[in-house]
Amino acid sequence: MNFMASKQPENSLLGPEADSQRTLYPNVTGTSVVALKYKDGILMAADMGGSYGSTLRYKNVERMKAIGKHSLLGASGEISDFQEILRYLDDLILYDNMWDDGNSLGPKEVHNYLTRLMYNRRNKFNPLWNSLVLGGIKNGEKYLGTVSMIGVNFEDDHVATGFGNHLARPILRQEWHENLSFEDGVRLLEKCMRVLLYRDRSAINKLQIAKITEEGMTISQPYSLKTYWEFSAFENPTQGAVGSW
């Protein structure tokens, strides 16, 4: 008779049975999200792909959603975990609205709530496998932040997840400035997304750009970027390569 073995409820994460339920690796994933502050608010871009490993299996996944009146959430990583986060935020916004008292959760509050959520899951060794971008504007104050699956969070004038950090951020560091117009902002985002399309194998050429301003959130219809493949280096790419034919 083992004194130590106590009966666990079915959904507990303690005990040997639970190891099979902890997140080990993601299954259906979204790739980079890129976002920047502009004159009237925040602009965010993400493609519509959901990869199943190396297969580009789902091509109509919306990875950006409005949260309440003031915020916009974009996610990369496990799509089902993103859906779970949306459920948590639904409840959060619902209870916030139910107070009906003229106060509302702004982007800063939502960002910090998400940080607590992600960090607490990480501490239980059962993370939500996402990198999140949270942007918004409230009472004229623009806010843009990010949270990773281990709870690392910070705010900046422009943020990106995944490959976006390596390919898009350097472009933004050079070319972003305060009070970008809407057109300039979109142009800058498209420049970033085009580089990602060329170089990130999990990117697809079907993207949406979302904007959030004091008036609210709008998200574009899916569209594709023009690409150029006629570079001479692409013809006979293996010419001169040793050991190839």
């Binding site: 107070w99 008292d101 003229g102 106060n103 800063k108 509050e109 910090n112 709530y113 607590r116 009472n139």
Partner: protein
């Protein structure tokens, strides 16, 4: 109020639809020493009378800082008030930690009221015997609320609770229309005048009162004795001319059969101040 067969239990209704235990709890608030609050568009001032039991002892703390943007003044069973202040501080800290943002006063007040209501509907509990004047800053401006043992809460431009509060209330009623646009210092002066009304002739000194302020750009803090005494001295000259047009006779009729005048000093229960 007289004893009757429906007043033993908080969970017993009287035939007239009253819960006597809750009403008795509200009496406890009236026995405590006075606390007043008033607000403008940008500031709220809380003040209270602090009488020590004897010359040897210190006075009880009746004003508590709950967060940088919220403070509370209590009247009644100060022990109950201390416990509720701790609850409020906890709620504020937890909210700040999760959202990195100050808890809106209006929400804290509702949570406090719901907590008080629970005690009016459990046979194994008793209502909190303390009234709270909650002062706080919100997105929507400066607020002053009164939470009572019944679980009700009300928002006020100015209010007074505790013994001889009627005198302060009368003073505030005459002046409240000007409060919204008052400067911070004028608001403090009005608070001190209101406190003086409750002393009924006794000299107002900073050693027997406490004043606290919270406002836009100003964290909740209790003013130190020197500052308060300076302000008292500043308007005392003016005060002489105005005269505290006290109407003590109006007060006596209003509280249903409660003798407010004799409450402090003779037989005040040790738990009350």
């Amino acid at each position: 109020m007289f004893r009757n067969q429906y007043d033993t239990d908080v969970t017993t209704w009287s035939p007239a639809g009253r819960l006597f235990q809750v009403e008795y709890a509200m009496e406890a608030v009236k026995q405590g020493s006075a606390a007043i609050g008033l607000r403008s568009k940008t500031h709220i001032v809380l003040g209270c009378v602090n009488k020590a039991n004897s010359e040897l002892s210190s006075h009880q703390k009746k004003i508590f800082k709950v967060d940088d943007h919220i403070g509370v003044a209590i009247a009644g069973l100060t022990a109950d008030g201390r416990v509720l202040s701790r609850y409020m501080r906890n709620e504020c800290i937890n909210y700040s930690f999760t959202y990195e943002s100050p808890l809106p006063v209006g929400r804290l007040v509702v949570q406090l009221a719901d907590k008080a209501q629970v005690c009016t509907q459990r046979s194994w509990k008793r209502p909190y015997g303390v009234g709270l004047l909650v002062a706080g800053l919100d997105e929507s401006g400066a607020h002053l609320y009164y939470n009572c043992p019944s679980g009700n809460y009300f928002e006020y431009q100015a209010f007074a609770i505790g013994s001889r509060s009627q005198a302060a209330k009368t003073y505030l009623e005459r002046r409240f229309e000007n409060f919204a646009d008052s400067s911070r210092d004028d608001l403090v002066k009005d608070a001190l005048m209101a406190i003086r009304e409750t002393l009924q002739g006794e000299t107002l000194k900073s050693s027997i009162c406490t004043v606290a302020v919270v406002g836009v750009g100003e964290s909740f803090h209790i003013l130190d004795q020197e500052t308060v005494q300076q302000m008292i001295n500043a308007f005392d000259i003016v005060g002489e001319q105005e005269g505290p047009a006290a109407e003590p006779d109006a007060a006596a009729g209003q509280e249903a059969a409660v003798d407010q005048g004799g409450s402090t000093g003779e037989g005040a229960a040790p738990m009350d101040i």
